[in-house]
């Protein structure tokens, strides 16, 4: 990603946050993100985010597991080493069901979690800019990206009017990098000139 300039405002209550999100969107400001300590239901719709398609990915992983299990077991029993097990058929479908089911679930779960990590760009060792340390505790942190059309002071007074407090301007890396949370390694990254300065 890139280093950018942001205006950050804190909200204490969902009841104030929702109208504020609406106002920001109608005013045409570029809403970078809202960071919340827990999933706030309806906030994704209020922000105009599209529905997640993670479950579709899960379905595809699931049927991959089903196919893998069924085709592998029937290949082993019919092609690679046809073995007579007590005179039982070489394609005993009922006996294949438990393993087929388990592999369906396994593929779907592992695949979905990996896709989730990929989409959210999270993994051990990844570091991202935390706009306010209490965004994972009790504050709802609204971050507005500055563009060449927006004036920082104007955005600040707008947020003030919308009910935010502790409003400040931050220059930060919008993406992720490999780093440690106990080290302040961002100034090093910030040597780069912000793209929206």
């Amino acid at each position: 990603m890139a280093v950018k300039n942001f205006v950050v405002g804190l909200f204490d209550d969902e009841a104030v946050l929702f109208p504020a999100v609406k106002k920001v969107r109608t005013a045409g400001y570029k809403l970078h993100d809202v960071y919340t300590p827990f999933p706030v239901h309806g906030l994704d719709h209020a922000m105009g985010l599209r529905e997640s398609s993670l479950h579709t990915a899960g379905f595809i992983y699931g049927i991959t597991g089903t196919t893998t299990a069924l085709s592998f077991m029937s290949w082993v029993f019919n092609v690679d080493w046809p073995l007579n097990i007590g005179g039982k058929p070489h394609f005993p479908l009922p006996a294949f069901i438990p393993i087929t089911f388990e592999l369906t679930v396994l593929f779907a779960a592992v695949g979905m979690v990996m896709t989730f990590c990929w989409l959210c760009q999270i993994m051990p060792g990844v570091k991202k800019h935390i706009f306010h340390p209490r965004q994972t505790d009790d504050k709802f942190v609204m971050v507005i990206e500055l563009t060449e059309k927006t004036n920082a002071e104007e955005v600040k007074s707008f947020l003030q009017a919308a009910g935010a407090h502790d409003i400040n301007e931050q220059q930060a890396e919008a993406g992720w990098w490999f780093g440690r949370f106990d080290k302040d390694d961002e100034p090093y990254l910030r040597k780069v000139k912000p793209v929206n300065a």
Binding site: E14, P19, D33, Y35, T36, P37, F38, P39, V40, H41, D44, L49, S52, L54, H55, G58, G62, F72, V76, D80, W81, L83, I85, K88, A95, P98, I99, F101, E102, L103, V105, L106, A108, A109, V110, M112, V113, F116, C117, C120, Q121, I122, M123, P124, G125, V126, K127, K128, H129, I130, R134, Q135, T136, D137, D138, V141, W176, R180, F181, D182
Partner: protein, 478 residues
């Protein structure tokens, strides 16, 4: 004010006056404090047990499986009993986190994290028994279908024992993923309030760089829901497959079709009992009584009395079928050697602990009594251990030929191995209680405003007014 709110008739899920920050403080601060004396005592006792277990396993591997008291007639004894018992205990966590999520049971938020942790540790303990039971453990990888130089010769996909391998390993993996995906946001909470550098670094790694972005939360919700949907049939399948180990054989006493539902009910029964045992201690030591309330315990006690009665019905059905089925061997197994005979005492311990004593939970006062709940939770787990012992040993010890009749009592390495798994389980649980948020912080916050005591009190005004007026006011609020 939301249109949807929880009726004041329902008990609050979080007691006391709380806001979001207070929830964080209450649950995270025990992690940041030094552990108490009790924690060290418990932890070192667990480590000692684990050490003794490791020694017992070493003894068995060094001298061979003959150091166990298993014999030609009784090939499955304490080892498989303990395996089934631990797997059963490992069912409550995923049941609470998955099935109760789909049923929208709000009370699961207080107990799901600890219950899932318990699931994972219990499955870790369970998995060791079949592996060590193989005798030559260094050959354990033979149970996996991997391309080998012997043909390749593959495993038998028709065998319930192989289904077990797939079921248990899938269950462990999926439970672990489900549990950890829920932990990521809570680790981020610990990270962002950490005062020491080491804590910030370690929880920074554990939290995967989570920020709490709305889009990420949306995906997280979607992930949790689908994992819950996947885990629901999974948790039912695991003990079903474990019961197939017995039900697909032709041993009288094992060869019955009611085994899958009967085993699943028993698993939930013992799992909830173990959750009660652990949480009664945890809430006391970590002072989390306001989050794991009496109401939570009552809900679990209701599940215990339900599943205990299901199990009781299964016992009676088995007896009826043994008589009605007119198979003389099955009749003898049940009426001469299980309910009577040299091992008959174990049957009556099972009956008393699993069917008779849980009936106290029909009384509300008993369900809401912490001491009664704690004692019952231990009785139930003793009963469920004996259930597995009864099913396995009393079906085996009287063979078709009286000349091969036998008796069985465990040798010290068998007992030591079992104690060792207790050591492993509690070592893991003590570490979990110290370093992990034992209650899902983010989830509690998301139900706080509908189910917290101080928020519910504010709802009393709305309860007074008519439904039409309430709906009208909400519709015209803005």
């Amino acid at each position: 004010m939301h249109l949807k709110y929880e009726s004041t008739l329902r008990e609050p899920l979080v007691d006391g006056v709380k806001d979001y920050h207070q929830v964080t403080e209450d649950i995270i601060s025990p992690i940041e404090a030094k552990p108490g004396k009790l924690w060290y005592v418990g932890f070192f006792i667990s480590l000692a047990l684990l050490g003794f277990g490791a020694f017992s396993v070493f003894w068995q591997i060094y001298f061979g499986v003959g150091v166990w008291n298993l014999n030609k007639t009784i090939g499955w004894g304490w080892d498989i009993t303990n395996f089934v018992w631990w797997v059963g205990i490992g069912h409550a966590g995923t049941l609470i986190s998955a099935i109760l999520l789909l049923f929208r049971q709000g009370w699961r938020t207080g107990v799901n994290r600890a219950a899932e942790a318990m699931t994972i540790f219990a499955v870790m303990c369970a998995g060791q028994f079949p592996i060590i039971h193989m005798g030559r453990v260094w050959m354990a990888f033979f149970i996996l279908p991997y391309p080998n130089t012997r043909g390749p010769v593959w495993v038998n996909f028709n065998s319930p024992l192989l289904w077990d391998v797939f079921a248990i390993s899938t269950y462990f993996t999926v439970s672990l993923l489900f549990w950890y995906s829920g932990l990521i946001p809570d680790f981020a909470t610990i990270r962002d309030r950490a005062k020491t550098k080491l804590r910030k670094h370690l929880y920074g790694i554990a939290s995967f760089g989570w920020t709490g972005s709305t889009k990420h939360w949306q995906r997280h919700e979607s992930l949790s829901l689908v994992l819950a949907g996947l885990s629901t049939p999974l948790v039912l399948s695991v003990h079903t497959i474990v019961s197939f180990d017995f039900a697909t054989s032709v041993i009288p006493g094992w060869h019955t079709t009611i085994f899958p539902p009967y085993f699943v009910a028993g698993a939930i029964f013992s799992g909830f009992a173990m959750v009660n045992t652990l949480l009664i201690i945890t809430r006391k030591i970590l002072k989390l009584e306001e989050y794991i309330t009496i109401g939570h315990m009552e809900a679990m006690n209701k599940v215990i009395v339900l599943t205990g009665s299901v199990v009781g019905c299964a016992y009676l059905t088995e007896l009826f079928m043994a008589w009605y089925g007119a198979n003389p061997y099955e009749f003898d197994t049940f009426f001469k050697y299980r309910a009577a005979g040299p091992l008959g005492w174990s049957y009556w311990i099972m009956m008393t602990c699993n069917v008779i004593t849980p009936q106290v939970f029909w009384f509300r006062k008993m369900r809401r009594n912490v001491t009664v709940t704690f004692v019952m939770s231990i009785i139930v787990n003793i009963g469920m251990w004996f259930e597995r012992f009864v099913i396995i040993c009393t079906s085996l010890y009287r063979d078709y030929l009286p000349s091969s009749w036998s008796y069985y009592r465990p040798s010290w390495p068998e007992v030591g191995f079992y104690m060792g798994t207790f050591g492993l389980f509690f070592t893991c649980f003590f570490l979990f209680a110290k370093y992990f948020p034992v209650i899902a912080v983010a989830e509690i916050k998301s139900v706080l405003k509908t189910s917290g005591e101080n928020y519910k009190e504010k709802m009393e005004v709305y309860e007074e007014e008519s439904a039409e007026k309430f709906a009208h006011d909400v519709a015209h609020a803005h």
